[in-house]
């Protein structure tokens, strides 16, 4: 069994386990969003693996599939985060209108800025350069957004261990990506390591999401109440 096949099978298995946990009882509305995100991630894994087998690692087709699918999954993850923000605010007296529209504007703005900067500094838009720039910027943004969301959850005292862990899983998933892509940008020789580091962080991220959804809320004694709880 080749290394790439082993990595692919491991990541697919972890994603499938995570998808299965979304059917666990006691999960709220957020499971549908997480399930679609995980299904998109599984589709991405399959598409990139088959593109790798068919066209080869250095082919333009593989780069199109890899960067296209990966960025699409990252953006879907942002929409899951936006939905988590809405759910967190739903039970509080605070109102936060237009979260999805703001999120869409932020992603589009960041993508356009990244493309313009790469075009102006490099004189062209190669798939690899633009893809790496977008991957790094989006991973960084994702990590920051997830940490901000976690801080908001703490400030408005939204309770629910699963919900908090789910937000932190996304933060860790994006944070690991931001670290890897930043290292690749600073030390180009790190690119060889990136080939293996990216799927390993995906694997860890999927297992964290699965763990967050699987482990039930801690046992509460009768009469004890949480302030306002978000089912997730």
């Amino acid at each position: 069994m080749s290394v790439s096949l082993t990595i692919w099978l491991s990541v697919c298995s972890a994603t499938t386990i995570a998808i299965a946990t979304t059917w666990r009882r006691g999960l709220g509305e957020v499971r549908y969003f997480v399930r679609w995100y995980l299904l998109a991630a599984l589709a991405e894994d399959c598409a990139t693996h088959f593109a790798l087998l068919r066209f080869g690692y250095r082919s333009a087709e593989y780069k199109y599939v890899y960067f296209g699918a990966d960025l699409a999954v990252v953006v879907i993850g942002f929409f899951v985060l936006a939905r988590l923000v809405e759910l967190a605010f739903e039970k509080s007296s605070l109102r936060l209108p237009g979260v999805r529209a703001i999120a869409l504007l932020v992603f589009t703005g960041l993508a356009i800025c990244s493309a313009v900067v790469v075009y102006m500094l490099r004189g062209g838009l190669s798939t690899g350069t633009l893809g790496l720039e977008l991957e790094q910027n989006f991973s960084f943004l994702g990590m920051v957004l997830a940490i901000v969301l976690f801080a908001v959850i703490n400030v408005i005292q939204v309770e629910g261990v699963r919900f908090r862990r789910l937000v932190l899983s996304f933060s860790l998933l994006y944070g690991a990506g931001a670290i890897i892509y930043s290292l690749t940008a600073i030390v180009p020789q790190f690119r060889e390591v990136t080939t293996y580091a990216v799927p390993i962080t995906s694997l860890a991220g999927m297992l964290l999401i699965a763990y967050s959804l699987w482990v039930p809320e801690p046992e509460m004694a009768p009469g004890l109440t949480r302030r306002f709880e978000v089912a997730a």
């Binding site: 933060s171 931001a178 600073i186």
Partner: protein
Amino acid sequence: MIFDSEWASVGALIFAVFGFGYAVLAFAHVRIDNCDMKELARLRAEGILPEKVELIRDFMAIHRKLDEIAPAVYLRQEFWIQVYFQVLRFAHWMEWRARFVERELTKLSAYQANHYRTAMIRMERLQNPAL
């Protein structure tokens, strides 16, 4: 590379490492943040804890009580709580970020107090299965 700048990437890397570290710690710590803080007051009202708040002594008192009954009701005491408590106790003794340390110690005691309540309920169920 963030906006094609190596320095921006270094900044992003430093921030990402801190963010990642924070998320890892928060992931482990999330159960303490989520516990019911009122449980400590209930234990005080029931006379299980002394009326006067004393952070270190309160935690140790609940921990000792849990030690006595937890094995009988199949409740496992988490080792990391004791480690975290010792770290906070040291920080408290050194008077580092006193308010943060005091808040964390209170949360930790409340977390243990919730465990104690759960253990007591399990004990009651064992003694009176009809309930």
